[in-house]
């Protein structure tokens, strides 16, 4: 199954810094296993632009569309057998400690 991992900061990082995983190592491991299909860090939220169309009118505004302290700072697209494997991939990502990771499966239109 394909899962999108949204990597977020949440203003509440783990104070315990022992055995912090390394992001380059994480990428190398999951790339080598063919589990990580792609992924990238995003530019700061100050660079975000939100676009809407209402009644045919284009509406553009500065910033992300959510005003919370949880901000998506990157993403990884992973291929896993099931949710338990995806959870294992997420737990070893350094940002699981530095923030939080949301795992969302791709919608399955076959069913």
């Amino acid at each position: 199954m394909k899962y999108m991992m949204f990597v977020c900061v949440d203003g509440d990082p783990d104070p315990d810094k022992t055995d912090e995983p390394d992001i380059d190592e994480w990428v190398a491991t999951n790339d080598a296993k063919g589990r990580r299909l792609q992924g990238h860090v995003l530019a700061p939220k100050t660079s975000a632009t939100t676009v809407r169309v209402r009644n045919g009118q284009l509406l553009i505004s500065d910033g992300p569309f959510t005003e919370t302290k949880e901000v998506i700072v990157g993403y990884d697209l992973i291929e896993c057998a099931d949710l338990d494997e995806a959870i294992e991939v997420a737990r070893t990502h350094p940002m699981a400690r530095g923030g939080r990771i949301e795992i969302r499966p791709f919608a399955d239109f076959e069913q």
């Binding site: 199954m1 099931d82 499966p105």
Partner: protein, 408 residues
């Protein structure tokens, strides 16, 4: 068939059904991946058995009979499925046709029922959905009964169950028992769901609605996971708590405190089973320690004969494994009985440091009790009155004011 043998067949049917049901559901889910289909087919097979067995007699192997009927029901349903779902349908028909009439393929190492328990209790599902799904899928409790016990409407409960099943499919929650270190991480969550299922959910009399189901599940889990002492420990704890059910209320339905209960009315068969389980444990986790504390109470011939020193020792160990203000409070009370009120008051002061128990009237009541036994009746009376003012329970308030009057 005579009437009495028909009744006997119904009894056998019901007994075999309770035992076979989780196996059938679990096997059909594994083979078809369709939770609703599995439940409906198993329910149908049960209904057929209850209808036919009193007339035709009970088959030699009731479990295999039920499995075959349920599997054929599932096959019929799938064959009737719409053309758009053809691909899935064909896969499922193949798998089901290949599946034997036996609920458990002999080469499978993991029992299907264990997979079902771990999937229903998966931490990616909301907690209340885990409890409901476990009751519905494994224990076959009707949705309306679950809804009633959890004080919600049947339609809300149905939605909750539907959403949970959809998440299992959509998010790819595996139908598997985690292995190695993952098992150690996940088992406490499963045990917590079973414990919650036992303690939450009440029937009209205010008694636990699903105690029997929780004990049956804990027994099954203990049997399926003999290498996990906490599974047996949970079973022991539930048996001990449930053993007092007949003595818990007086004739008017008011709760009776432990020290005033009629110990002859406790279920001593359950207590014996629990103490035997505890004897065999290789090590003590949090459930084992709670069960050991409960066993000390359950095996004491009178309140005065309670082995408080052992209880205090178990709390010392429990608080190290699971530090919490409420456990600290109970520990202080146990030390107060075991080693004198001054020892209890000292620990209580530590437990209340930082204001952790400020909103907890039982902490005040405990302090009042220890103070009274320490000889300062005036202060004890004040504390009992303060505790009475804070409690939300009318019967508790009455009892506390009574204690205040005794000390005034």
């Amino acid at each position: 068939m005579t009437q009495s043998s028909a009744a006997a067949a119904r009894g056998v049917a019901a007994g075999a059904a309770a035992d076979a049901y989780p196996r059938i559901v679990a096997a059909l889910i594994r083979v078809t991946g369709d939770w609703t289909l599995a439940e409906d087919s198993a329910q149908d097979a049960l209904a057929t058995a209850l209808e036919r067995w009193p007339v035709d007699g009970v088959p030699d192997n009731p479990g295999a009979w039920l499995m075959t009927v349920a599997r054929n029901r599932a096959l019929d349903t799938i064959r009737r499925a719409t053309v758009e779902r053809r691909k899935l349908r064909d896969v499922a028909v193949l798998a089901l046709t290949a599946a034997t009439g036996e609920p458990q393929p002999p080469d499978e190492v993991v029992d299907d029922r264990l997979r079902l328990i771990f999937t229903c209790c998966h931490p990616a599902l909301p907690l209340e959905a885990r409890v409901a799904l476990t009751l519905r899928t494994i224990c076959a409790v009707p949705t309306a009964d679950i809804a009633r016990a959890f004080l919600t409407s049947e339609s809300t409960m149905t939605r909750r169950l539907t959403r949970a099943k959809a998440k299992i499919a959509d998010a790819g929650i595996p139908y598997a028992v985690p292995e190695g270190p993952a098992l150690t991480e996940r088992l406490p969550g499963v045990l917590a769901v079973l414990y919650l299922l036992f303690t939450h959910g009440y029937n009209a009399d205010g008694e636990p609605a699903f105690a029997a189901e929780a004990i049956r599940l804990a027994r099954l889990l203990a049997q399926l996971m003999p290498a996990q002492p906490e599974a047996s420990a949970l079973l022991a704890l539930l048996l001990l708590q449930h053993s007092r059910r007949a003595a818990r209320r007086d004739a008017d339905g008011n709760l009776v405190t432990l020290d005033k209960q009629d110990r002859a009315r406790w279920d001593h068969t359950a207590i014996d089973e629990a103490t035997a389980l505890l004897r065999d444990l290789p090590e003590d986790g949090p459930y084992a320690l709670q069960a050991r504390i409960a066993a000390c109470h359950a095996t004491a011939p009178s309140p005065e004969a309670t082995d408080w020193a052992t209880i205090a020792g178990s709390y010392d160990r429990l608080v190290r494994l699971q530090p919490s203000p409420v456990i600290e409070l109970n520990r202080a009370v146990a030390h107060g009985y075991a080693f004198g009120p001054a020892a209890g008051l000292e620990l209580l002061a530590k437990a209340r440091a930082g204001g952790a128990l400020d909103d907890y009237p039982l902490a005040l009541a405990a302090e009042a009790d220890l103070t009274a036994r320490d000889g300062d009746h005036e202060r004890a009376a004040d504390l009992f009155r303060e505790a009475a003012a804070r409690t939300h329970s009318e019967s508790e308030r009455r009892a506390l004011l009574e204690r205040a009057a005794e000390n005034a």
